[in-house]
């Protein structure tokens, strides 16, 4: 029975074009208990990890997905013919800032980067790596941005908390003053108090 369940879980993950979460599996496999399903999933993960097969089972974007083994990437690129995913430094910088500081406005991104970032934000939106979260409730109602599920999928991240931790340079800092980084000293549009 347990073997069977593992096989079913594998089938389900296999046919999904998106990472499948444990919740989703439990919803589909309603006649099975959650611990049972979790065990099957964990066994599957272990098996994949231990094998040197061409398919790996990764935990990504809040779920599980089968992906090709990274070591084989060279060969796969020949097959897909499509352009390899590649990011410019400005795209990566902007993504990093948004990933770590979301929800964030364009003005905040630009303050941190020191340059106009509208173009790169638009490109990232087009690539679906960002999403518009709404409008910030301050004068001018600027749009606020965050990273998308596709961002996690693209960068093979389990969730936002598995982003590599920011390297703090604080031990060098003479005081803690520099560590306060909550609000950016940005002028809100409309407020001209400078």
């Amino acid at each position: 029975m347990s073997v069977n369940l593992k096989s079913i879980v594998e089938s389900l993950i296999f046919v999904s074009d998106q990472p499948v979460s444990l919740d989703k599996l439990c919803g589909v496999l309603e006649e099975h208990e959650r611990p049972e399903i979790r065990t099957a999933l964990e066994q599957l993960v272990d098996e994949y990890r231990e094998s040197a097969r061409g398919i790996v089972l990764v935990e990504v974007a809040g779920g599980y997905q089968l992906r090709s083994r990274p070591e084989n990437a060279d060969y796969l690129r020949r097959l897909t013919r499509s352009k390899t995913t590649k990011f410019s430094q400005s795209a990566l910088e902007t993504l990093a800032i948004i990933a770590y500081r979301q929800p964030i406005t364009r003005a905040e991104i630009e303050y941190l980067r020191g340059v106009d970032s509208g173009g790169v934000v638009k490109t990232l939106l087009e690539k679906k790596l960002l999403k518009i979260l709404g409008k910030k409730d301050i004068p001018g109602k600027p749009l606020i941005y965050g990273t998308s599920r596709e961002f996690l999928e693209m960068f093979n991240l389990k969730d936002l908390s598995s982003l590599p931790s920011l390297k703090e340079i604080q031990e060098l800092a003479p005081t803690d003053a520099f560590s306060a980084q909550q609000d950016l000293p940005l002028d809100e549009p409309g407020e001209s108090d400078q």
Binding site: V15, V58, R69, T85, P164, A173, Q181
Partner: protein, 268 residues
């Protein structure tokens, strides 16, 4: 920053210029190159090198982004502040801050994200290092798919609209309710129609509108009135007649009545 490739002879400079994402990036580079303490930036020297760099860009006829110039001004300002002797008065002012402090904060913050960006770039990328099956499995094809609320991002919606616009001649687009004026006029007309009535059938508000614009504007007017809580819209049963009622009738609000009166007078 710039993709000017006219200056083959100066290719080496150009490579350098393109490396910098912005003034913060350039400053970090200068600080690193000079091996100076970021918490104690020799502002005069760094400013000079920074300005030299801008000159170089100018000589190469490259566009200097506005941000670089703003930073130049900031640096000069900091430099002049540091040259000023600290007066006793200023010293008393709540723990006077080093003029460089804000810049240092920004540089540190920027450096943090710059490094995060590098780390991010080293992740195993989908479509570069790993590939997934980004197509629907053929074994699902035989099943009838019952769709659930689909996933779509706001941006996709905007893109879709832009796609539509791209296909339609621009002229045909200026027709729909673009000017608020006619909506305001129509609001007054609708209120006039409601005047003294208990309820009016929704459809009857559209009588006389022959153009698409007119209909749409009437509709926007009704929505506007609804938002202003000056009318109520009710429907007895599904797809039955929709009734529009002036809110003043059901009591609650002299202000509304006032306003209604005003608009009515203004119209007639």
């Amino acid at each position: 920053m710039t993709e000017n490739s006219l200056f083959a002879a100066n290719a080496s400079y150009q490579v350098n210029i393109e490396e910098f994402e912005g003034p913060l990036d350039l400053l970090l580079h200068l600080i690193k190159k000079n091996e100076v303490d970021i918490y104690n930036i020799p502002i005069a020297a760094i400013t000079r090198q920074y300005l030299d760099y801008l000159d170089l860009m100018k000589d190469l006829n490259l566009d200097i982004a506005g941000e670089f110039l703003v930073m130049a001004a900031t640096l000069l300002q900091i430099k002049s502040k540091m040259l000023l002797p600290v007066t006793a008065e200023e010293e008393n002012e709540e723990e006077e801050e080093d003029p460089r402090a804000e810049l240092v904060r920004r540089l540190l913050e920027y450096q943090k994200y710059k490094e995060a960006a590098i780390t991010l770039g080293q992740c195993e990328l989908l479509g570069r290092d790993l590939f997934a099956r980004k197509f629907s499995a053929p074994e699902l094809a035989s099943f009838e798919i019952e769709e659930e609320p689909a996933e779509v991002e706001l941006f996709e919606l905007i893109e879709a609209f832009q796609r539509v616009l791209a296909k339609v001649s621009p002229d045909s687009f200026h027709e729909v309710g673009a000017d608020g004026l006619s909506i305001a006029d129509r609001i007054a007309e609708v209120l006039a129609l409601l005047e003294g009535e208990e309820a009016v059938a929704f459809e009857s508000l559209f009588i006389g509108d022959v153009t698409r614009d007119g209909l749409v504007i009437t509709f926007l007017a009704i929505l506007e009135l609804c938002k202003l809580k000056m009318i109520r819209i009710t429907q007895a049963r599904d797809r039955g007649t929709i009734w529009i009622m002036p809110v003043a009738v059901s009591g609650d609000g002299d202000a509304v009545e006032d306003e209604e009166g005003n608009i009515h007078v203004g119209k007639s």
